[in-house]
Amino acid sequence: MTTPTRRRGARPAAAATLATTALLLAACSSGGSGGGSGDASTGADAEPVAGGDLRFAITVDSRCIDPQQVGNNDAIAVARQTVASLTAQDPDTGEIVPWLAESWEVSDDASSYTFHLREGATYADGTPIDAESVKTNFDAIVALGATASLGSQYLVGYEGTTVADAQTLTVDFAQPSAQFLQATSTFSLGLLSPASADLTPEERCAGDYVGSGPFQVESYTQDQEIVLTRVPGYDWSSEADEHTGEAYLDTVTFQVIPESSVRAGSLASGQIDATAAIAAVDQPQFDGNGFWLQQRANPGVAYQLFPKESSPLASDEAVRVAISKGIDRQQIVDTVLTERDQAATGVLSHSTPLAADLGDLLAYDPDGAEELLDDAGWVVGDDGIREKDGQKLSTTVTFWQDPAPLELVQQQLRQIGVDLQLQHVEIAESTAIKESGDFDFDYYNLTRSDPDVLRLIFSANARNINDRPAEEVDDLLDRSAAATDPDERGQLIEEASRLLVEHGHAIPVYELSTTIAAADRVHGLTFEGSSRLDFYGAWVDPS
């Protein structure tokens, strides 16, 4: 799973994208929904200027910038720029287009992929990008295992890569793996020079690797800044890119600024040029006034509470459903998010292909919630918290994300007699506590542009986030993965989502979005197909 890292007040663009080939066309309809560019960012009225430095603020240094290992947003923003991938995903249409691979063939059962590489592309150290080096990369990612948390997941069932000639390779899987083509467009399967495979994971984390992208790591000062420089001679941009050749910027400087207010102040005073981590409350001052905002709704699983149903409290369906009914989602958006944000209308956010609108099931219904709890024998105690057989209706959620939405959820749930304790910790601590398995509800989101993420997370036969025995919904979910007809698949996804919400297996809260805030001197900084920041086409006015 992805573990996007964020400090207080930041807005994360989360995880990875899984897409099946069958869905790519379907994705066209919604893929561009959030991709509207800020007025200044497209630069239609101005010619791009090469040169200059762009200073971009990130919220935390997660001590690793190796594309094949990172899983947190800030690190991804850095790592994405340093590698090219076999394919790219068009941010507007969701279509998979050539990048390092000129073309490819997929076997009928989606278990074998043959890629034909373009000629002349090299790693930043001059080594040619050939079939053998791609094999080295995939083998190394599989060998890294859990350390390459995302990449190894994309390569589940990997049987090996066969090199036919210098430009042709075939990747084989033990079972159908339709998501793989889209996965080759992600940074996690971005290509590193074969020499990098010999480095230790720690050395690669420290930025010692050699990549294949338009930028390379110049320096990495822990907790302070990461400087990327343009790779001279880079000339193998993807078909999704708007220009060819080298990147415009000489350098990109990523500055680590943990304090939300300091980030806002730095942007306002011109100490940084852009950031994707401006708190909702500070955003209005950057809408105009010499700045621009560009927001993109993240597709995938919305922010939600995931019941771990092997725990006694979360095994009680009445409790789960009551919590879902007791959350006033619109109030969260109105109070602590921006007007461009959306309350969750389903398990998947509305911009995910085939996402169903289940708004009726997610309406605020405190009376219904109280009734459910009353009927289930949860009696309101002296302190206003319900209890049953001496057990308090109280649980702790451990998380590292923006605390404000959950603080409001906490306040809302108190009204129906549910005590939600919040444990706001650092990302590392959060991961560890969750590994310990000692919790009732988990809380996060996953950014993916394919509804398969629903199956991946919820199915009792996949990750089984609910930790529950198989039931009706799992059958629907598993069938959805095999369905090739978008209509049939959409039906299955909607039915499954409905069941997940009705039984309280999923308690969606709000949809994540990412907002770039930048000064007017910044142009062309935008999102790539997986909602990652893309600096390749970015340029700055000469100062």
């Binding site: 806002a264 708190a279 409350v281 602590v336 603080e407």
Partner: protein, 311 residues
């Protein structure tokens, strides 16, 4: 050090209560004299020091907040009205409202209890452990004095906030642990002052006399040395209280205190720092409350100190 960390806070409290009682009893008995002139003198003394009176009132007020918060702020400190979020200070909301529409004044008043309890526990830890060490060192002298003296040197060599952070690294977070961490930082000062006082009094004529007349050492300690050393230590308690308010709020500010939504002064200010550009009242007003409390505690400490010198 080890003694500090292995003792339970309860144990410390009980020990301290007895300690404090004896200090207070003897301290007051010493200062009292006859009632009438004393009261008149006190009145004149206070009249000449309006600042001290204000300081005392501030401390009384926050103590009252801690004891009966609902009297001063009847609202709910935990649950807000989302529609009323981020309102500036007004007659209705003296300190404005926060991002969830909670009344900041209510949260400050209700937060006094936890903040002051944590602070008091920290001072108690420092007082009990430090005084005990200082007492032993000053009274027994010899190698005990050497060992304690060295320990004090070492404790002073590390800035107290770093010492506290090291202890928090080991113990984990939470108000009690913060209190212990801050208390340990105060041990050295208490030990030094106590040792100096004991050395001063135990060389005095009446202690020599008591010793010569064959009194047991603990009775000399309890009857003569301890009561006469109490004055400056009491002044130090007030001073350290101010310092502990600062230290506790700094650690809460860094996020080592209570999780939300429980109000606590340091974490209130910490929560407001994401709203610096839009809502100044979230940080400035609770901050001023802390400043007022520390200022008052320091003022009272100075008064106690000078009174001690006069005698």
């Amino acid at each position: 050090m080890t003694a500090t960390t292995t003792r339970t806070p309860d144990g410390i409290e009980i020990a301290d209560r007895e300690d404090a009682r004896s200090i207070l009893r003897h301290g007051r008995a010493r200062g009292a004299g006859s009632a009438g002139p004393w009261a008149a003198r006190a009145g004149r003394y206070l009249l000449r020091r309006p600042g001290l009176v204000v300081a005392g009132l501030v401390l009384l007020l926050v103590a009252a907040w801690a004891a009966a918060p609902a009297v001063f702020a009847s609202g709910d400190p935990i649950t807000g009205v989302p529609a009323d979020r981020l309102l500036p200070p007004s007659a209705e909301h003296l300190f404005g409202t926060d991002h969830l529409g909670r009344d900041v004044w209510t949260r400050v008043v209700h937060g006094a209890s936890l903040s002051l309890r944590t602070t008091a526990l920290a001072v108690v830890v420092g007082l009990v452990v430090g005084s005990a060490l200082g007492l032993l060192a000053g009274f027994l002298r010899g190698w005990v004095d050497d060992v304690v003296g060295r320990a004090v040197d070492v404790l002073l060599a590390v800035p107290s906030i770093l010492l506290s952070l090291a202890i928090i690294t080991a113990l984990g977070t939470g108000p009690t642990k913060i209190a212990v961490a801050v208390g340990v930082g105060a041990v050295a000062t208490f030990a030094r002052v106590m040792r100096a006082e004991v050395l001063r009094t135990s060389t005095s004529v009446y202690v020599e006399a008591a010793r010569a007349s064959g009194a047991r050492w603990w009775s000399v300690l309890g009857r003569h040395v301890l009561p006469n050393s109490a004055g400056p230590v009491l002044a130090l308690v007030a001073l350290e209280f101010g310092g502990a308010v600062l230290a506790v709020s700094a650690l809460s500010f860094l996020g080592y205190g209570t999780p939300p939504p429980t109000p606590e002064w340091g974490s209130l200010i910490s929560g407001g720092r994401d709203y610096l550009a839009t809502a100044w009242w979230l940080t400035t007003l609770p901050g001023l409350v802390i400043v007022a409390v520390v200022l008052s505690a320091n003022r009272v400490a100075r008064a106690l100190e000078t009174t001690g010198e006069d005698q």
